[in-house]
């Protein structure tokens, strides 16, 4: 009996792409680990090699980007070209960032409810809050228009 087609197969075939053992192993690993784990490319590679899978690190990188583009994975804290720094202004202790994922335009804002929610979550598990930052990924007005014309 054939195993039922999962969303991975369907998504890949839809684009003329292929389901390889490597791709399945990568996604399987994330599913085994549960949704609480945050793995780097190196982590994924080491775990798969330890589990006797034959995968190269280059393929891990290619596969991770593919799975992100297909929506199976989220990439945490993407920093386009190096970490960034900003002035620590004590007037605005915890402020948040609204970033256009297309053009990189950034707006800042503050929000008390966000800070309170962070504090509450920290206290709930006995953590002592230091600071918090909300990163909102979005499309700015200009890029919304552009995206409507040429869906990437």
């Amino acid at each position: 009996m054939a195993r039922p087609l999962g969303p991975l197969e369907v998504g890949l075939h839809h684009d003329g792409r292929r389901l390889t053992p490597q791709r399945r192993r990568v996604l399987d690993l994330f599913e085994q680990m549960g949704s609480g784990s945050h793995l780097s490319a190196e982590d994924v590679h080491q775990q798969l090699v330890a589990a006797k899978a034959k995968v190269s690190l280059a393929t891990i990188y290619r596969t991770l980007r593919l799975l992100v583009k297909m929506g199976f994975l989220h990439e945490l804290e993407l920093n386009e070209g190096g970490n960034r720094f900003e002035l620590a202004s004590h007037d605005h202790p915890d402020h948040h960032h609204l970033v256009c994922v297309r053009c990189g335009r950034t707006e800042e804002f503050e929000s008390d409810p966000v800070i309170q929610a962070g504090r509450a979550a920290a206290e709930h598990v006995g953590f002592q809050l230091i600071d918090s930052t909300l990163n909102v990924r979005a499309l700015c007005p200009s890029c919304q228009k552009l995206a409507a014309l040429s869906p990437n």
Copy 2:
């Protein structure tokens, strides 16, 4: 007449460190740019060189880390050793991270107020929200005890 001692001088001298022209130029740059700018090490270097300052990129890196440790700068989205990925579970669209800055222990949580605040901020400037993540930096219970014993 001597210029008044700023917090940078005071903080440095307190630790037997020195105020060099390079360090002052780096902090001055951030102050000129205002609190809305997010500069990479490369950005800082290029701007200073363009402004005729004599600084090497290595010094920029060393200075940025120093200023962060001293609390003058914030480092945005620090990703310790490479970006990380997680399963995109559609049951939990936008979830948030509580990270112990000392041991790296991570807890996840969800919060409707946070999502609503992100959405409101996006709409306020005409952005179309995609997703949002709140990163809360904190000390976990064990590290609070350790920190009390050996203040780093």
